[in-house]
Symmetry: C2
Subunit: 459 residues, 2 copies
């Protein structure tokens, strides 16, 4: 072991695995997205293995407007994340619960309440993966003609975070407490209206529940673009990213950590966790056989549609499959990922078929495959080289891909002292080594308390 840092691990739960055709793999659970027992199995397994969190990605609709293409996948039959994580809170006790929720298609008051409720129910294990949504087909489910452009989405997201954290702060930590004698359930001097008035939102507050156990649920983000990196540096505590190469990962890591410092924050308080799509065999060649089998199970139609959606709703079906990718138009989709795909096509001279097969397996994430020891080696490499603080682990097919990781890779990483053998704390914040934020009102109230108001609970 070459470092005393602990590698952070997330279990990135896709219904039947990360691969587009993962549900067809022998032993995979085909209805994983609406199979509660499967969710419980993976969440409890990850907790037993000491993972930091269980993570649910999300989009607000089917993943492509073409229902026929979608019918080849099991991804668009899934529980809403906060709903199922509330259920999973009852059958787990230490693992963090990360729900994706969009700032473009939600309302800050409702979302603040729901995350605060999950945080209370789970004893301080909630986290919010903030996304601004990426697909035009989501807009069509929310009475909008088009998806708002990238700049507007991020401006709204920043204000959204301000409102949500302001609502969480509205009840000071010691506001709630009972005085049967004078009839008060809480100290009214320690519960504050927000009275936010911004360009996107006007929100009075306060929230109708006390401050979350963690102060704020942990803030997770996933932006690759300039605006995304900046929002994460300002407000994020975990950053998901797609990094297929170590050089790229290191450059990204340096850039983001420098931005965190520029915002006056401790760089250790933003954990950078690239995705790692894992394929684990007894041997490397057995893992390669699994990949070949997954390629064989992938029909061209969902492969092309998934690639199109990933790079921003570009219709690729009119291009020949066995020729290099033609120039792509600009879109309002996720800019960072489009750039990765284009760079990769140029670098490798890959044909469209080769690209969609590769993208169906990893999207634009890193592929980590081989024997358990080889997988552990690859995870350790980047971690030690300054490419990441840990990984969001997404097995190509599930549940076997998770089971193998928990039972074979985790013990290997534990032997190397890289991952925990027991949880340090009871909240996600404690387990990630993150500080518990003070409420923005705490200082003001201390000042007020020097001149007590006879109308308050102190009387």
């Amino acid at each position: 072991m070459t470092t005393s840092r602990r590698m952070k691990l997330g279990a990135s739960f896709y219904p039947s695995g990360y691969h587009v055709a993962g549900w067809r793999y022998p032993g995979a659970v085909p209805d994983g997205g609406i199979n509660l027992a499967h969710h419980i199995e993976v969440a409890q397994g990850a907790e037993k293995a000491g993972f930091d969190f269980f993570f649910l990605a999300d989009i607000n609709g089917i993943w492509d407007p073409d229902i026929d293409a979608v019918s080849y996948t099991t991804w668009s039959a899934k529980f809403e994340p906060l709903t199922v994580l509330s259920a999973l809170a009852m059958v787990t006790s230490r693992i963090g619960l990360v729900a994706t929720a969009s700032t473009t298609y939600n309302d800050p008051f409702n979302l603040a309440r729901r995350f605060a409720s999950l945080d209370h129910i789970s004893g301080g294990r909630a986290a919010w993966n903030l996304v601004t949504s990426a697909t035009a087909s989501e807009a069509a489910n929310f009475s909008r003609d088009s998806h708002p452009d990238h700049g507007d989405r991020y401006a709204r997201a920043r204000e959204f975070v301000e409102v949500v954290t302001g609502l969480w702060d509205g009840w000071e930590d010691d506001a709630y407490g009972f005085d049967r004698a004078n009839g008060r359930c809480f100290d009214p001097a320690k519960v504050h209206r927000l009275d936010h008035r911004g360009p996107f939102f006007q929100v009075a507050g306060p929230l109708n529940l006390p401050r979350p156990v963690q102060g704020h649920p942990v803030m997770v983000q996933a932006g690759l673009s300039e605006a995304g990196r900046d929002l994460a540096a300002a407000t994020g505590e975990v950053l998901f990213t797609a990094q297929p190469t170590l050089d790229g990962a290191k450059a990204f890591y340096r850039d983001v950590k420098a931005r965190v410092v520029r915002y006056g924050r401790d760089p250790a308080h933003l954990s950078i966790m690239p995705g790692a799509v894992t394929v684990i065999g007894q041997t490397k060649s057995e893992a390669e056989d699994q990949i070949a089998a997954l390629n064989g199970l992938l029909e061209p139609k969902p492969g092309l549609a998934f690639m199109s959606g990933l790079i921003g709703d570009t219709d690729l079906s009119r291009f020949p499959l066995d020729e290099p990718l033609p120039p792509l138009p600009k879109t309002e989709g996720p800019k960072g990922r489009q750039q990765l795909v284009v760079e990769r096509a140029r670098r490798d001279g890959a044909t469209l078929r080769e690209l969609y097969q590769s993208i169906a397996l990893t999207s634009s994430h890193r592929l980590v495959y081989g024997s358990p020891v080889e997988v552990a080696d690859q995870l350790e490499d980047w971690f030690v080289a300054g490419g990441c603080d840990g990984y969001n682990i997404a097995p190509a097919h599930a549940p076997q891909g998770f089971t193998d990781f928990f039972s074979a890779v985790v013990p290997e990483l534990q032997r190397r002292g890289l991952v925990r053998t027991r949880y340090e704390g009871s909240t996600l914040r404690e387990n990630l080594g993150l500080p518990r934020p003070a409420t923005r009102y705490a200082a003001a109230t201390e000042a007020e308390q020097t001149a007590p108001d006879p109308e308050t609970i102190a009387s």
Copy 2:
């Protein structure tokens, strides 16, 4: 037993009981709204007693803009309903789970997903108590200067229900199923875009999860006004109502059932369940002592503020406490309840203090109190006389008020053959004797299938 109908029962969960000062009552759980163990105790107790459902009321904010008044109560420290009901789904197996959600301050796509998710997670036990929201202070949490007027709220509610049920219907019942051989997870010919375009909403769909277990989660409503009764008659399956007198209850019952028939529906498919605030003692005089004790625990400030909010944000603090209620201005609040309060004041010549004490105990609901046998008698009376199909039971203080009802009143009602001794089915719909709605697309698809499309799964 004078009837073969079964009396329906709901457990109306308020944090520490229905009474404004219920949390101060000896033995009450003061932090009931954020006490998960207390929720579990009541939900499991209600299930053991054969209740039809566990019900959570809700507003989107603190119950009054005056934080000082709110601090006398424990009502504004509570979990968001759908979040905590998802958790309760894991520790119960038969009881229905009813969440209140507003059509004014939610989005139909999000709400359709969340209720469908809860219905899947709970094995078909979800119900939606549709409200249009009643208070101006909720508007201020959602970037609105004022609460929309009553007519607009109901017009939006009707379209909201159309969108939500349309989204639930988008996946036909047999759409989801796996064909590993041809690579399909569902039959694309049986998943339908909604393409709704109305004055309030434009929603493409389809939803990203299969049809709810119950087809539609059970539809609960609570309107007393003309528009409210009409919406319930058109789309409701359970109707909550506040009825302090039997004559009023009978007139309401006849009126609503006639409306249901006018909409071409079976009147048995809308259960009318007035609220019953219960106070149970060993004897009637012991129950009266409990009421006197609760009155003694009620401070004037929260008593007046609660009454003001109930009748539509009218400030009553400037009126003398021991004189009759002066004429009230018109508001955009809940019309039906304002009328009840005004009628009652005129009927009884009650002073403001007498009114707020009575309202703090029952709002404008029926009070049912006495020994377990006397409580059972009163519940049977209205049920047999054509006043209701059952009750939404709200003990004045909790958990004791629930425990006494489960252990003493329910066995008495069972002896009389009025309530069940075991659940008939596994879904809420089955237990309420409600039909499972067919999807609106089922017939169309049957027609299409006579001329198969080579592009569909049938090929």
